[in-house]
Symmetry: C2
DNA sequence: CTGAAAGCGCTTACAG
DNA sequence: CTGAAAGCGCTTACAG
């Protein structure tokens, strides 16, 4: 037992095989063989064996060796859903990096992608022998439940998810919904629709409620049957959503859409059906994209403040590490707001 | 001297202050105080001092301790330009992760953003005591020169840059240029323009040459004065570029554009000037984006195969680590190709 | 030219 | 209830 665990070659092993000391092997492997005047022949034997046994140095041992010369860094493990790597990870890392520089602290960022639904395979990585803290984005509810079943000896910070057990940074979804409503010109517009998804998260529902409530306050009607539930986010589904809404009488004249990837399809449908934005329709998208910004007319959006979230997550992590506070910290941030032509304002 | 270097608190230090042994302190700090039956009072003193001195465990020491129980991983340092974090890092990491899973190897990814132009500050991180290999994206020419002045004891792989000294993975720019030309319907189109930048990289120039040569072969004329050099990539500059090209007589009827961020401005200008795509004009963009895909008409693009590059970079790194080959390996990959309506084909 | 020892910071049996 | 020792894998003076 225990054989397959430490299958990697070590210096000591090689030294024994060669009848040399570990020091000699180490020196040669580090290219200092000549300067320490190890026999050419010995060097050759060592290098050959290293190649043969596929020697890989243990980075941790090397770094430990350097302790005293250099500060040991704080290591942050960032867990991110594989299918989200493209969208927001870049912004998150950028925000994190900026904050690290600003604070002048010695931090290393480790990124660990995970398969959607399979986060549990990484639970063992959340441990003080691996990193100083974990930031986790994109968890499903089941994954979160699973995560919460255990305790961890380092701070865990959920990104974009609410939790009572761990720390978290998230957008104030209710406020985000309100913001969307405030983008509508209520002097002209009296009816509004919501386009969201069938399997909506708690976050999405809060957004919807915030929007609906704020609309009510402004005298804008949001009828129950104007709340569209789509299956997925594709061009075609966006296109059909417009046709469906057009069948409703009266035709709601402002739409809040909970996903910007539908935008292309929806815009095409509007064009094909002679709906002019913002004359006939106010459009507000959740999530920003170039598509929205450069469309003619440009489209208003409300987005998650990812960089901000990274900054706050770092704040929490450093605070916890310094004070060993044990109550969970929650930071709710305001959404980012891009007012554009699609809501009739410049 | 050496005081500010190791300012961090260590267990030994705390043990001395408290008149205890390191073992006792360690046990309590790991929450095993009760199970090992350390006096409550002692535990309290230890925890208080830890808080006061802001004790941070040395992750490397902890991980080394675990050696034998768990495999030491290969650590890949990914250096990425801060201002590119949003665009291609996600795809690169996704590609890297996929390849890691496919190969079933034990790899950790460390991401180190750097300020554009300031890569030299990270040179010391390219060392076997920090990681098993470095992948570097987005270097400027000066940065690359600076990097090449030194030797490193781990494999260095440049992403998207050519080099004789290190390994590299890059797109075959000449072939990419040819691909762009092949998107043009030469039975109908006889003239082509190139829109690029004033300060163009060697890569961009190769792309241009590949395009020009392939056009010649197809009987398409690319006149010198149809080669536009723009200052930067913005909406306005894209808009003006179209006006400039319209002033040329004859008006070139296919354009290869070396950057997709100009797209929005160019499309707006075409629309404003009654230029109909693809009837009057074939458009091919380098770099893909949603904007191109969902435009009406959808726009053809040629893009860097980032995920592929990540895979090949991993291949190289593992190969080098196994065989200690010392000749630089270069992998040139074919671009990714999105044929769309803007070149008149579906 | 090479070996033996010390030590990086930490944890874990073990002894008392 | 606590201490002393051993050891994780590696490197670096030092001795010979």
């Amino acid at each position: 037992m225990g054989e397959n665990q430490s299958s990697r070659t070590h210096i000591k092993e090689m030294a024994e095989k060669l009848g040399l000391s570990a020091g000699t092997v180490s020196v040669v492997l580090n290219g200092r063989g000549d300067s320490v005047r190890i026999a050419k022949e010995t060097q050759k034997r060592i290098l050959e064996l290293a190649k043969e046994m596929n020697y890989q140095p243990n980075i941790y041992a090397r770094r430990l060796r350097k302790a005293g010369q250099e500060q040991a860094p704080i290591i942050i493990a960032v867990f991110w859903r594989k299918d989200n790597l493209n969208s927001r990870l870049g912004k998150f890392l950028a925000g994190l990096y900026e904050s690290i520089v600003k604070r002048g602290c010695n931090v290393e960022i480790m990124v660990q992608p995970y398969e959607p639904g399979e986060f549990k395979e990484h639970l063992h990585q959340i441990h003080s022998s691996r990193c100083s803290g974990a930031m986790i984005g994109g968890l499903t509810e089941e994954e979160q439940v699973c995560l919460e079943e255990q305790d961890y000896d380092i701070p865990v910070i959920l990104v974009g998810r609410n939790t009572e057990k761990f720390h978290c940074v998230l957008m104030d979804n209710y406020r985000a919904g309100e913001k969307c409503a405030s983008a509508i010109d209520s002097s002209r517009i009296k009816t509004a629709a919501v386009v969201s998804f069938h399997k909506s998260s708690r976050a999405a529902r809060l957004l919807e409620v915030g929007f609906t409530m704020a609309c009510q306050d402004k005298g804008i009607t949001v009828r129950e049957d104007w709340k569209l539930r789509l299956e997925r986010s594709t061009y075609e589904i966006g296109y059909h959503a417009v046709e469906e809404l057009m069948a409703r009488i009266p035709f709601p004249s402002a739409w809040m859409v909970l996903d910007s990837r539908l935008a292309a399809g929806m815009l095409a449908a509007c064009q094909d059906n002679g709906i002019v934005i913002p004359r006939d329709l106010n459009l507000i998208f959740f999530e920003d994209s170039e598509l929205l910004k450069y469309n003619k007319p440009s489209l208003t959006s409300v987005d998650v403040p990812v960089a901000d979230m990274a900054e706050k997550a770092l704040d929490i992590l450093l605070l916890i590490n310094e004070n060993k506070v044990d109550i969970p910290i929650k930071r709710e941030l305001l959404p980012v707001y891009h007012m554009r032509e699609s809501t009739g304002k410049l």
